[in-house]
Subunit: 245 residues, 2 copies
Amino acid sequence: MKSYASFCPVAKTAEIFAERWTPLLLRELCMGARRFGELQQGLPLISRSLLAQRLRELELAGVVERMPLPDGVRHEYRLTVEGEAFRPLIDLMGMWGQTHGRGRIRPGDTDPAQLVWGMRRHLETAALPAGRLVVQFEFSGVTKAWNAARYWWLVLRRPEVDVCQKHPGYDVDVTIAARLHAFTLVWLGHRGLAEARRAGEVRLDGPPPKVALAREALGLRDEPWVRGFDFSPRPDPFGPPVPPA
Amino acid sequence: MKSYASFCPVAKTAEIFAERWTPLLLRELCMGARRFGELQQGLPLISRSLLAQRLRELELAGVVERMPLPDGVRHEYRLTVEGEAFRPLIDLMGMWGQTHGRGRIRPGDTDPAQLVWGMRRHLETAALPAGRLVVQFEFSGVTKAWNAARYWWLVLRRPEVDVCQKHPGYDVDVTIAARLHAFTLVWLGHRGLAEARRAGEVRLDGPPPKVALAREALGLRDEPWVRGFDFSPRPDPFGPPVPPA
DNA sequence: CGGTATCCCCCGCGATACTG
DNA sequence: CAGTATCGCGGGGGATACCG
């Protein structure tokens, strides 16, 4: 949190907000991440020391509140009111990225885990099928050495999405076999599914009605579009199951 | 422009936007600064090499366009369409700073030159007096060694504001003698003028009607408020005089 | 003035080890 | 697991020189 030695409101905000990793850390907190491990999972490449340092800085800045958990060891981190006020900035950064970041995503930016967990986080629960739908992913062209598992499963059943790294036991309804980079762009809306299929980079296999359900649930459109992302809180993926409303 | 190795739209935007100095540089470009020297004046503490580097990075990112000037030596820098799209982000950062940055401004953040030039940039031309109004500033409590001139003059005459470091020749209408830090907070709206006067940290001397005009023109209110700042382009302060409309 | 090239220092950050 | 403390390296960035 190095000072700009300026009273300009933009500079004062930049001192807090525009440090390395901070916007992404705030994104995680905006989405409801509370524990150190959760935050680290959302920021796969940050080192623990740096994460701890950033959290300390944000606490000092009055943006994050850190409360001891009953176990006396762990803590809970949450945004203060001032921190919550960064949410519109995160939203706007997401929009800039979605409209002007097209063409900036290199293969090295993609990673199956981020992608699948990101889908879980951002899927519209309303668009999920009422019955269970199991989608299996087989990614090719995975460049990152770490966490490069090629097979993933998504179990969709309104209003929940489960992510699995092992076959979930249920029968697979739809198999998506795709180049990781291509499918990531389709997910983001930067490429149309139709074009990616024509190029042979994405395949959806399964009974047509199921495939249609999966496309609807995942928001995979034939033509490119600007997918909006919502950064409001999600239920803790590792917390206790939410009681049915 | 270090990568986060992530396809997340927020991360992609952060790679470009959330680097040190970049938000402030974009603020300057948003306000219409075009030449290297102008940019450097708006970012007093940046080194020339770093400014050049940032401009190069932003050009590479397609955010800034760099065009040679006829003299074959200098260049003109301006925002591309993608760069223009950062304006809402700058505005929002300004708002965050104005509403949540109160109390974060330390005496070391203040500087007479920044303050006076900032007033020139952000004054509402509509609120300026029709006739000429000359305001003299005498700052005390200036901590910065460099560019610490204590005396400044503002010549207000709708729709123009002139900044002088020497007595402009015209008779002075209003003299503002103030502690730099206190007056900066009053200007920002973080402190009320009434309270600052009571504390003896700001004095306005001159015929009451003129003082009232100056207060109106400068937006100095008795009670604290959230002053909004506009970052849309201003006429070049060193360019040719604008022909009267 | 408006930059570019070079040098070099400092500190930001990663790696590692340690603790409850 | 959830951090804290320490060490050591690399590169980000300041200072300077130089050029058109």
